[in-house]
Symmetry: C2
Subunit: 436 residues, 2 copies
Amino acid sequence: MTRLRMPVLQSDLNIMKVSIIVIGDELLLGQVVDTNSGDIARIISSANWQVSHVVTIGDNGEAIRKAVKTALEVSDLVITTGGLGPTKDDITKQVLMEFFGGELRFDDTVLENVKEVCRKRNIEPNELTRQQAMVPSSCEVIQNRVGTAPIMWFEKDGKVLVSLPGVPFEMNEMMRTEVFPRLLRRFGDDVNIEHRFLLIFNVIESEIAARLSCFEESLPPFIHLAYLPMQGYVTLRLDGWHADREFLNGVMDSKRKDIEREFGTNVIWNENRPLAEIALMLLRRNGLTVSTAESCSGGNVAHALTLIPGCSDCFAGGVISYSNEIKKNVLGVSEDSLELYGAVSLPVAEQMVEGVTKRVCHTECGISTTGIAGPGGATATKPVGTVCIAVKTPRRTLVDCYRFPGSRQRIIDRTTNVALIKLIRELKKLEREKKG
Amino acid sequence: MTRLRMPVLQSDLNIMKVSIIVIGDELLLGQVVDTNSGDIARIISSANWQVSHVVTIGDNGEAIRKAVKTALEVSDLVITTGGLGPTKDDITKQVLMEFFGGELRFDDTVLENVKEVCRKRNIEPNELTRQQAMVPSSCEVIQNRVGTAPIMWFEKDGKVLVSLPGVPFEMNEMMRTEVFPRLLRRFGDDVNIEHRFLLIFNVIESEIAARLSCFEESLPPFIHLAYLPMQGYVTLRLDGWHADREFLNGVMDSKRKDIEREFGTNVIWNENRPLAEIALMLLRRNGLTVSTAESCSGGNVAHALTLIPGCSDCFAGGVISYSNEIKKNVLGVSEDSLELYGAVSLPVAEQMVEGVTKRVCHTECGISTTGIAGPGGATATKPVGTVCIAVKTPRRTLVDCYRFPGSRQRIIDRTTNVALIKLIRELKKLEREKKG
């Protein structure tokens, strides 16, 4: 029952509680995945607040009423997203007035803002967008610079409710730049919460847990260990909370070191960063460039790399060699190897990485993938999930064959992660050898 | 207040209510995005049940207790994910026994299953994985073929609670193949729910709403229209529910036709499918192949295409030409154009698509993207978000320049969607011209 320590202690320390209410029928139908609640949690994670629950409900008055009532009972701060917008009825505004009083009134500054946003988007405001300027008299309006739905800040009995639009980029932009800074000014900081992360490769969750059981027993009551299995690796997270930040940081760093010692070279990294960002950072600090030749991962390795700002320093580009013709003509894979071993084979993966780095992109490092992502394409000797990955660095070219379980999407994600992990490990070895 | 019609009517019709409880500290920290609740909603969407709310909570007993209590009060079926697994304490099992009675007992068949799963994964079961064979005596166990945490089915007073593991692929696989079929047998079908979709391009949400206001007024009380803004397009969804399925289908189809007439060629498609799947279907039925030359989208167009099973019929491959050298050497973009117009320009986009289709991949169709995804790389005349997209079909090569707002990720997603939409529109025109 040791896992109960964290919440018990946190309530002792009077940590501010946050509830998030996500409104939208489309979420309950599974048509759209809710990213808003996670984004809000990430944005406020630098403050010493705890998200105690997230509720997703449809666009209907009764559900919103119930959710707001519960949230105001258990939390100090309630953040809602969605249930606004030009094509929604004003159910959300009506329900919020039941709790915070006031009446709908026309707000000139909101209309001005709506007109300005429309002007930037090169569209004519119509009657529906004008309706958005009707806001409850009981709220303070925060102008939405990137959309037409105004942000509403309500306050009563020391509790705050902020209503944000549901469109993810509007919510994100305004939460980050306007709402969170105001919330920080409104609610002070008492207790410090710190997190430490370790990404572990090639050891499964239950083995990690077995090897860390004594370590876990020895943790002080203000530190908690969590396991997050990812595609191809496990993230370990240490959560700590204490009034003395300096003391806390010291203990957390030392505990992270204990885990690093236990798992040695199976530790991929000791921060919580995307694998692509870690790989690019290592490339940059060693003055190296990389290119990709992807068959079964279909561009996803390149996509992961190019999501990271500034990647063009180190990432030159690549080839998606879905057909054998491209493998031969562009990458220079030999006809013989394709016939003798098949497209999904170690020699072809190796020739792909040689081809993309030497013939096409002229980079020192490279990644290649060739495999069967399914559901079709399997043969007697090569079932769905068979994937060959080659990684080239100035050290050597490493080629391995895997058998990944699961769906097409899962095999593509796993291939992408394992390829990046292999590159990271090779680059770390290279650094160590340079130093040694 | 017309939006209130749907829930009111649904409760009149005694539609079965479903609550989903998602358990995991990592979700409240925003470290992992919850895809389980959306997946469950999609899987059960073929039944006439309504997901009335989704709650996300941490791994702690008090939160689980509260959430289960509320869910059992308001819903007929409660599905929980997470809060199990070898490294969690058995808090979830303990809390469920408070509601459904029983005591923990050792289950031989679960241990056999755990051993079998470990064997397939080539790992040794340890003491922690063995603990998973301790299950409440009050539940029926459904063996988890793809993981070690057993699935538990509880039933009391006509209500069912199913506890599923939190790992997305395990949850998905078992929900789809075992749990949902059992639930369908357990709960009958009375009322039919139908959905219709339309993907609309180049008309913003508020204009769509203004043009559909009379249409919305004329909808019968059992049909409801919802607006879902996506990156680069808007999805319209009609929800209908009625005891007579044939009648309902007739009315829904006719209402969808009304919207199609209103928006004409701005309708991208009249089903809810990924854009890449629509593009591949049109290519296939016209015997065409496609390749990609991506700069700013960095492989994401190819990734979207290769996520669709069977894409290799029509997708040959492509080039990620992040550096100018690759644009020149591989795609044959002229040095002069790069110097005169810059890499982000209409001539370069056009030469990229010509190069990838004629020199590299030998396909009839092609997509190219070149732009500034930011946050760096902007110039005085080309701000962040400037993107040139070329689409080639046997009809013609179409090249356009856009200015997309938002973050790097958003610009990449928008570029990907707009490129696919342009290809879909050109292929539809091609089909019409062939027929005409």
